[in-house]
Point group: C2
Chain length 142, copies 2
DNA sequence: AATTATTCCTATAGTTTTGGTAGAAAGCAG
DNA sequence: CTGCTTTCTACCAAAACTATAGGAATAATT
């Protein structure tokens, strides 16, 4: 039940963009540096986020990425969905046809309840809240 | 964020044992047959469940596996824990040392809330409830 | 027009996890 | 002592994951 680095890195990168929202574009190189991960790898994830319409790119010297919308208007559910796909723990939750026993299976009910619980958390959290929380943590270091 | 076949198969196998609780041992072969999965593979999962103390084996002709405790006393959280490990979506949730930025990371707070939401579902569900639900579904087929 | 810092695209490759197979030994009721 | 079952150890193929590499496109700036 682990999330891959796609989801992990991607969410953290989005929080970085949210923290710097309104301060011009942030290049992948800088984000990767801050996060201490491979910039070349983060490249791919940014491309996925761009194609999903969550971020916009400025392709030139001193360019980079910015959020496509205000951090208040981006829910974590969207970010995770792009990078990890559905948070359904098992395929049959989204698609009953994935298992021919799905209709008579209580396990499926359990997976469904787990998915709802996770979605509830992701749906009720915005990037802005994350960015505020992040700033707080950094301020407390002083 | 998908659960592996370990968790999927394991939970369903445990539900089978719960449904037949009190009716003597159930051999892996029969469980696998009902579930339509490889018996040899299910073998491994049963071994893990046995070593965790959730089931007991009767090793002889017409032997098999039985639940080690009453279905009312086995929570799904235990079953999933044995087969999938922690449901933490990211390692840093259980072990802050997994990432040296953990202490100043809001993403970690998010993963933590997701874990709690999932655990809440798994902790509040017993095998007995699952077995009752399963029997209901089958009865409705008539 | 050249420079520069960046995104963007495509290809490749190493490592780990997953999902399963194989075969034989051990236990024990009948 | 036979038959059915668990139990143990080893092995393996395919898929997914986690990158890495190199170069082309872009456009402001010099």
């Amino acid at each position: 039940m682990k999330m891959s680095t796609k989801g992990r890195y991607g969410v953290r990168a989005m929080v970085h963009l949210a923290v710097h929202y309104g301060q011009g574009p942030l290049p992948v190189r800088k984000i990767a540096e801050k996060m201490d991960v491979s910039a070349k790898y983060l490249d791919h994830l940014m491309t996925a986020l761009r194609m999903a319409g969550l971020i916009r790119s400025i392709r030139k010297a001193h360019g980079g990425y910015i959020l496509a919308r205000s951090p208040k208007e981006i829910r974590l559910s969207e970010v995770v969905k792009v990078l990890e796909g559905s948070v359904a723990p098992v395929d049959c939750v989204d698609d009953a046809g994935a298992c021919h026993q799905a209709d008579f299976c209580t396990a499926r009910d359990l997976w469904q309840r787990m998915q709802k619980a996770m979605n509830n958390v992701l749906e009720s959290t915005t990037l802005d809240e994350m960015a505020q929380g992040q700033k707080m943590k950094w301020n407390n270091l002083i």
